[in-house]
């Protein structure tokens, strides 16, 4: 599938760090073994350069698709459709995905075309634009699915594209970061939010179809609510509020314990912990993980500032820690309670489910607070996403942190805005309030009933 091409010297990949730690770890994701091999593949599959004359005239095809509206779905529709699956239904859903993906891609390609020309010439932006064009071409030419074999073929194509597009988030982040001066912050944020939302929506549709197909082909799979923990494709009808929070909390505490070698603060869960609801676990876990991670790190770094230097040589770290011990406040000797706990409250209303994450990590200062949701560089933080040069691929899923595919000490800067996009996707919300000097409260709201349409605005 990957044609052999000469090794190209791609100038803008000079900054990439080649000593990836993840090479030696188990990777469930179809990641490429090194960045260069990946970039070669992309370059070879791209049909034509973005700003060639042919592309301009080819655009007429895009107009047809852009003029068609997007047909959004609700979570409930996904569940009901996949619950009593028949061959006919599987093909029907396959065709829905087949027609929807090109339309959604087309809308986003048009967004790219509406960016200022100078932004479009940025190599990172250009790469994503080329990727989208080639995907669009591939997908729109696929004929109607009439039998299961064609469905399998379609799923394979889509699987390949998903794998190829894992670079989109890092590339967009780097490109946007470099183009901050050419775009108004509002325009930039709107562009990124729309891109990410649409990306989630396409991946949801694609992954759902792939999962349904795989389950259909799996002879041992049993449908209905009794089978397989209530999963219908990628949607779980048996998400338990307390359990999910506990799982994310344990995950992030393990990671912090491993890096910092100190017992991280406890996470206490209260409220309506036994609520069962239907949702896509990847989404909710990512949000909770990011927020809990921010809280736990915030608390630990506030009370033990030396931990900030954990990635530096050990002698330096010891020096900092010695200084700290001299002036540390009187905290209890009990190792498990050296830090004030994080408190997560779950509240289940008639239509919505809330998660409130409260920490005592010192809060967010007034200079930073207005910009926490923004993708634009701020006066104080010039190159917001510079760490993405070390992260070539990102699926925005919790497993990447769990298995250290993305180095945990790296501050990527995209956790909060990405979580907000996830939350708002099914018309939920994510708000954050801070008390400078004390701590922060994050509120995640998700719809319980699953009857909200996808939010693609």
């Amino acid at each position: 599938m990957v044609p052999r091409v000469q090794r190209l010297n791609l100038h803008w990949s000079r900054q990439v760090n080649h000593s990836f730690r993840y090479k030696s770890r188990i990777r469930p994701f179809p990641y490429f073994s090194s960045p260069n091999s990946f970039f070669q593949t992309i370059k070879s599959t791209v049909q034509s350069r973005a700003y060639s004359p042919q592309q301009f005239y080819k655009n007429r095809i895009l107009d047809q698709y852009v003029s068609q509206p997007v047909n959004t779905i609700t979570l409930r529709q996904l569940v009901v459709f996949g619950r009593n699956l028949t061959e006919d239904r599987l093909l029907k859903s396959g065709n829905y995905v087949r027609t929807e993906l090109p339309i959604r891609l087309a809308h986003r390609i048009r967004d790219f075309q509406n960016l200022p020309f100078i932004v479009g010439t940025n190599p990172h932006i250009e790469m994503v634009y080329d990727l989208y064009w080639s995907a669009f071409e591939k997908l729109r030419k696929f004929p109607t699915i009439t039998n299961l074999d064609e469905n399998d073929e379609y799923c394979d194509t889509v699987k390949g594209l998903l794998k190829e597009h894992l670079v989109v988030i890092p590339q967009l982040a780097l490109g946007i970061s470099e183009c901050s001066q050419h775009l108004h912050p509002d325009q930039l944020d709107r562009f990124m939010n729309t891109m990410l939302r649409s990306r989630i929506s396409r991946r949801v549709l694609a992954e759902q179809q792939i999962a349904l197909t795989e389950n259909w082909n799996d002879p041992g799979y049993v449908y209905g609510q009794d089978g397989h923990d209530g999963y219908i494709g990628i949607v779980s009808t048996q998400c338990k509020s307390g359990e999910i929070v506990q799982r994310c909390a344990d995950m992030t505490r393990n990671v912090c314990r491993t890096i910092y070698k100190v017992e991280p603060p406890q996470v206490l869960v209260d409220g309506h912990v036994d609520t069962t609801f239907a949702y896509i676990p990847d989404h909710i876990e990512y949000m909770l993980y990011e927020l809990l991670n921010n809280s736990i790190r915030g608390v630990m770094l506030k009370f033990s500032p030396s931990l900030k230097h954990v990635s530096e040589p050990p002698e330096l770290l010891q020096q900092f820690q010695k200084l700290e011990r001299l002036k540390s406040p009187d905290i209890s000797k009990d190792p498990s309670s050296i830090y004030p706990p994080i408190s997560v409250t779950i509240s289940s209303g008639p239509t919505d489910l809330y998660f409130r994450i409260s920490d005592q990590g010192g809060g967010i200062s007034d200079e930073i607070y207005p910009h926490i949701w923004s993708f634009a560089s701020t006066p104080t933080l010039n190159n917001k996403f510079e760490n993405f040069v070390k992260v070539p691929q990102m699926a925005a899923k919790v497993q990447e942190y769990e298995q250290s595919i993305i180095p945990p000490t790296l501050h990527l800067g995209i956790g909060l805005p990405m979580s907000k996009v996830y939350a708002e996707y099914w018309s939920g919300g994510l708000t954050l309030f801070t008390m400078d000097g004390y701590g922060t409260d994050a509120y995640v709201k998700i719809s319980r009933l699953g009857n909200r349409e996808e939010n693609l605005e």
Partner: protein, 412 residues
Amino acid sequence: MTISNIRGFNKPSKFFYDILSSHQSLQFFRNTRPYSTQHEMIVSFYDDKVTKYAEKSIRPVTLKELIRFGQPPLSTSKLFESANYTRSELPVRLARRVKALQNLPFIVGTNPYIKSIYKLYFDSFELIRSFPERINNEETDKKFAEMLRNMVSSHSDNIPTLAKGFQECKKYMLSEDIKNFLDDMIHARIGTRLIAEQHIALHDLNNSSYIGIIDTKLEPRQLIQSCSNFVKELCEIHYGSTPDILVNGQIDTTFTYVPVHLEYIISEILKNSCRATVEYTQKIGRVEFPHVTVTISKGKNFIGIRVRDQGGGVPAKDLPSIFDYSYTTVPQDDIGGGSCNTKENIFAGVSKMAMQSGLGGPIAGLGYGLPLARIYAKYFGGSMDLISLHGYGCDVFLKLKQIDESLDDLQI
């Protein structure tokens, strides 16, 4: 009282107000007027003093100047400077308020509550206007301060009265217009009272940390504690029991602020929290009352106060209206076309008493608590936000700016 010397108004305005407090006395009120309605209206219509004063431009005082008046050591020249400023500024501001009231629709202006406020402002305007213009000796200054004191106390229940009045007039005005009128009124009232009370306080110099009514060493914990006690008492009178109110966080914080403002804001928020906690607990059959927690934080520019309760939260559909005037979840008596009648019981009288006690009045029912608290919070550059976790409780985040040099140019 000097007010009785003013031509045309033989009775003190406070008397009018007391009489207006109960419905049955309205008839009596009409008959005890010393002059006919007709006569009074003619006097007011052709009397253009108000218009003349209202047209004068307000000379806004910046916070810096106001504080400068009261900075120790206090000399008599500074005292007279403050007195003269107050003497010249207040009539202009009061005249503007009178004019705004005159511009209300006629039917609204005839509502007895609104009318009483109108008379109150008119009387106060006349009172100050007719005071000697230059204050340059102690005698005059003392009289002036005494007059201001009386005036400030006579205006202290304006908000509940206005609230009742507008509740009755809801159907005669667009809620948009009511909102704009009240926002202006309350904003102006805060400024006017600030100027008046600053000057009065210069005569009561007993506390070194105070500059007028601004306390430079205000301890939020202490203030919240006293507000909690007041609200808990109110809750006991009204419901028979009350939840606990805990204070935590950076409790040793001190900052510079106007204590009365903070008192008002905190009382309103705590009233809401306590009421919600009690009613929700009863509704879901909970055994114990969960605490209401107040957390204090001190940041670089702002003091943060967070009030957290488990009172069931606000339903999503009602959330946009909580900051509207006259939005309340208390069932209304059938006054101006209200809905259900509350049952009269032996505690109703006591709770009506509670309605007239203390700072803000009732524990709930006027629908003014939240919008008012927000205006107060925003006055010195702060903010107030409410998050509701429907089915669990509410969090209110209050951010207050320290009154320091950064607010020097804030115009009052």
